[in-house]
Amino acid sequence: MKKVMVGNHAVAWGVRLARVEVISAYPITPQTQVVEKLSEMCADGTLAARFIKVESEHSAMAAVIGASATGVRAFTASSSHGLLYMHEMLHWAAGGRHPIVMADVNRAIGPGWNIWTDQNDSLSQRDTGWVQLYCETNQEVVDTTVMAFKLAESLSVPVMLMLDGFYLSHTAEPVDIPDQELVDRFLPKRDAPHKLDVDQPHAFGALVRPDSYMEMRWLQQEALQKVPETLAAIEQDWQRMFGRSYGAVEAYRAEGADLLLVTSGTITSTARTVVDARRAAGEAVGLLKVKMFRPFPTALLRDALRRLGRVSRVAVLDRNISPGHGGIFAEELRAALYDLGDGERPEIFGFVLGLGGRDVTPAVIGEAIAQARAGTVPSREDLWVGVNP
């Protein structure tokens, strides 16, 4: 069934298809339509879930933690300051190994107040132990929401999926809604191995001494290390059943390219058109879309670059900034490729752009390509594109 819908409603449809049982959320622009649509679905019975309308995001995450610990499938959505307010509970969800799925509508952080998109809200949660998946289209949002539950429940890790505020959250696109019966086969009802149960009483999250704490963190790390292969297997199933897949990293027209753009989120769609135009003009430019930021797809990126061989320059487009450092994807990519051999490691040029919802047009991307080609940018200092200080 095809429907035209905005990204926020695509999230709600994914939640409905996954037959989520407990939702708890707090409204924040530009996530509100997720909450509104889910409220409608719960009210009209198309989604048989309990919706706990809490007084804050901190409580929203706490409530889904309680539900998840009791063995049901739980979901929340937030954005920007709401996500930051959840921060403590993000660690709790991950440390407690609760397979919660959350949608974050990427929005800048104040002050000054700004409701438009950038990735600093989610990227400042990168060390909380959540899987992070950045989506490019509304179709990808629906599909990823459902797959996220499968991934989360397979490894007992929470999964956060991101969509750009307004560019995706409020933009209508045609979406193919997967068949519910097939989704039910793909994602059966959750069967929690450990849960709050009076017939089998256990204590969860008790004090852990230094002699055991590291082992618990190691088990968490081990689970996160399994994410790439698990996600690949899940995507293979999705491809087989629904004819679509995305990959943790996608190479677009990258064969034979000497310069690669690295993107995430909706900038990717604009970058694809730039690549198409450059290719048509005979320029060997390609694209790597990084969908999965946590765990960082180090092996996938190294393999891709090895396989492509000829890439000498990489331009990373970062709609985010680690203040005092640089674009975050660029920094992580540099770290991931640091010990490649001299002939294998491309020059990495970082570009900070599009903060607080500023447009990233083909011209902006063109400027990044020109700078990377000219090689005038010191590779350890990211260039801010389109800034007039």
Binding site: V54, S56, A62, A67, V72, V198
Partner: protein, 327 residues
């Protein structure tokens, strides 16, 4: 009070084991022991950060024989809301979900979450065991610390300078089905209140005064007696409030003077006579206000026992109140 045989009133089954890690003389494990006797094994405990995080025992042990979820400090009522929703979806409507947390997690950092859950009338039982300061971190003042008390952040030269927050009044104002006080000093009354609360639906709030020998600077063997004194001198009246409207005293309160209660605790040792009198005035004023609330609800005949100190009408002139030393 009429004579009761304790062994006929208190169930014999135990759901709190020995070997827990409470300090000697702590009232909290006794309260938990009695609470679980009343609630039974069909109970899930949500436990935000508090002394009981330690008392319950470190992984892989647990002194509670019911499921426990150790929760973030501010999150007890929110986590419990999620647990409740999940249990209801599984048809487990009879399972009691109890939040068990101290005064810091209730009066201070958890108040927003608690107010949210109460406003939604979540079907949970919320229990605050109140030892009147952050005892687990080493006796720092909370908004439950009484006026005049020493803590490590309100030293004797500048003791606690504000009145204890009226948490029961705040909870009653939410119109929740049941709000009550209790203490281990009166175990039968405590059991009865937990049993009543268990039989009700919606948000139920129990406020337990919980003597803490290290924090109150009293003897390990004095907690029960201090809890009884706090009731009889009206520092901590025993009452029940239904729907925020029907207020009822659940026992007679002798109206003993507060001074002996204060003198038994090192945390009040620095107080002079004027300051003790100020505390007494506050107790008497609150008692008058409480009697009015009870009379207004018409549920209960007032105690005929007069206060030891003549009650004054509520005064709007705090300027005459003595200030803590050092102000």
């Amino acid at each position: 009070m009429s004579q009761v045989r304790i062994d006929e009133c208190i169930p014999t089954g135990e759901l709190l084991t020995s070997g827990h890690l409470a300090c000697p003389g702590c009232a909290a494990p006794l309260a938990m022991r009695l609470a679980l006797k009343a609630l039974g094994p069909n109970t899930i405990v949500v436990m935000p950060a508090c002394c009981f995080t330690i008392i319950a025992g470190p992984w892989p042990q647990s002194s509670l024989q019911v499921p426990v979820y150790h929760a973030g400090f501010a999150t007890g009522p929110a986590v419990a809301s999620g647990v409740r929703a999940a249990l209801d979806l599984q048809g487990k409507h009879d399972t009691t979900v109890m939040v068990w947390v101290g005064d810091g997690g209730t009066f201070d950092i958890g108040l927003q979450s608690l107010s949210g859950a109460a406003e939604r009338n979540e079907n949970i039982l919320y229990v605050c065991y109140d030892n009147e300061a952050y005892m687990n971190t080493g006796i720092q003042r909370s908004s439950a610390t009484p006026w005049g008390a020493w803590t490590t952040t309100t030293p004797a030269q500048f003791p606690e300078s504000t009145n204890k927050k009226d948490i029961l009044g705040i909870m009653a104002a939410h119109g929740i089905p049941y709000a009550a006080t209790a203490t281990v000093g009166y175990p039968v009354d405590l059991i009865e209140k937990f049993t009543r609360a268990k039989g009700m639906r919606g948000t139920r709030f129990l406020h337990l005064l919980s003597p803490c020998p290290p924090g109150w600077k009293c003897g390990d063997d004095e907690g029960i007696e201090l809890a009884r004194m706090a009731v009889q001198n009206r520092v901590f009246p025993m009452l029940e409030i239904e729907e925020g409207e029907r207020w009822r005293l659940t026992m007679d309160h002798a109206g003993d003077p507060v001074e002996p209660y204060l003198r038994r605790q090192g945390r009040f040792r620095h107080l002079n006579a004027e300051q003790v009198a100020h505390i007494q005035t506050g107790i008497d004023r609150r008692w008058v206000a409480l009697q009015r609330r009870v009379a207004m609800s018409g549920e209960h005949a007032l105690s005929a026992v007069p206060s030891a100190v003549p009650s004054a009408a509520p005064s709007a002139a705090p300027s005459s109140a003595p200030q803590p030393a050092g102000v």
